[in-house]
């Protein structure tokens, strides 16, 4: 019997969402402006993708104030880290010897 192919989590597989999760994997938390600059995306697109990640429970949002200006801070949740690890494992299995 051939080994069953693993499935890739569609929430993570989106390019922008994958970029954001990868960025958040290297830091404790990051604000919206920083994520937008690093990914080169627009406010609207990034906002929509962050909402999807939040709904999936992969990121947590925190609203703060820097001086008088509101600041939106995102951090990766344990579920997000687990999902990203599983996504990487699935990618490795799919690519097999290509890596």
């Amino acid at each position: 019997m051939p080994e069953e192919l693993p499935e890739l989590d569609p929430i993570i597989h989106g390019k922008l969402r994958l970029a954001v999760l990868s960025l958040l994997a290297g830091v404790e938390a990051a604000d919206f402006t920083w994520l937008r600059q690093r990914t080169g995306s627009t406010d609207g697109n990034l906002g929509a993708q962050m909402l999807k990640l939040e709904e999936a429970g992969y990121v947590a949002m925190e609203k703060k104030f820097a001086g008088r200006k509101p600041q939106t801070l995102y951090r990766m949740t344990p579920a997000g880290r687990e999902a990203l690890a599983q996504y990487v494992a699935a990618l490795k299995r799919l690519l097999g010897g290509a890596l």
Binding site: D9, K15, S22, L23, G26, A29, D31, T33, W34, L95
Partner: protein
């Protein structure tokens, strides 16, 4: 769930691109984007301004409180503006370094305030202690960042602190303090700014 063919062609390329994207973004997230060099230039210049005011201008008792107060205000205002335009991240390293410098600032402020209040300011021990405080912050930061240049800067402040004990006149102590400020703050800050600009240029072309 997305099921992907385990074969060659577009799917494989796409998956490899995803891995490349992840590697790039993880490295990007870990890379420090904070601009700190200007802070050293600012504070080094303020030390010179305070000494200059104290020596040559009226109301000399106000020189240090006003210059140091201005330093705190300018640092906070510029930091908040930087954060607004470029955003920022929180990680253990940046929090550690921030904690070191904030606590050093608090310790020196309390030390200086009490010294001025009790008329102990200006003595050999007083001046030397301030140099050791600043050297301590540089040394701790250098260890966190594993940055030898900042380690050398810490040595400049500590050697300066030790040298003050051998100074015979207060002018000599002042000259030691200003020398340490020039090399250990202004020149170091300019060097850090140069590195930051070079790093940004590399990132833009990457």
């Amino acid at each position: 769930m997305v099921t992907t063919e385990n074969g060659s062609g577009e799917n494989k390329d796409e998956l490899l691109q995803r891995i490349e994207l992840m590697e790039t973004m993880i490295a990007e997230g870990r890379r420090s984007t904070v601009r700190n060099g200007w802070i050293f230039v600012l504070w080094g210049s303020l030390y010179f301004a305070a000494v200059g005011w104290e020596l040559f201008l009226p109301f000399r008792n106000w020189a240090w409180p006003v210059c140091m107060g201005a330093g705190v205000v300018i640092t906070i205002v510029v930091r908040v503006r930087q954060r607004r335009t470029a955003g920022g991240t929180v990680n253990m390293q940046s929090r550690s370094i921030m904690a070191v410098w904030r606590m050093m600032g608090t310790a020196v402020s309390l030390f200086a305030f009490t010294g001025i209040l009790t008329h102990h300011a200006g003595g050999t021990m007083y001046m030397a202690a301030i140099l050791f405080f600043i050297g301590l912050a540089h040394a701790t930061s250098a260890m966190i960042l594993r940055w030898r240049v900042q380690g050398a800067v810490a040595a400049i402040w500590w050697v300066g602190g030790m040298a003050i004990f051998f100074a015979n006149r207060w002018q000599e102590s002042l000259a030691i303090f200003l020398t340490a400020s020039f090399f250990g703050m202004i020149l170091f800050g300019l060097y850090a700014m140069m590195l930051e600009r070079r790093r940004e240029a590399v990132q833009k072309h990457a």
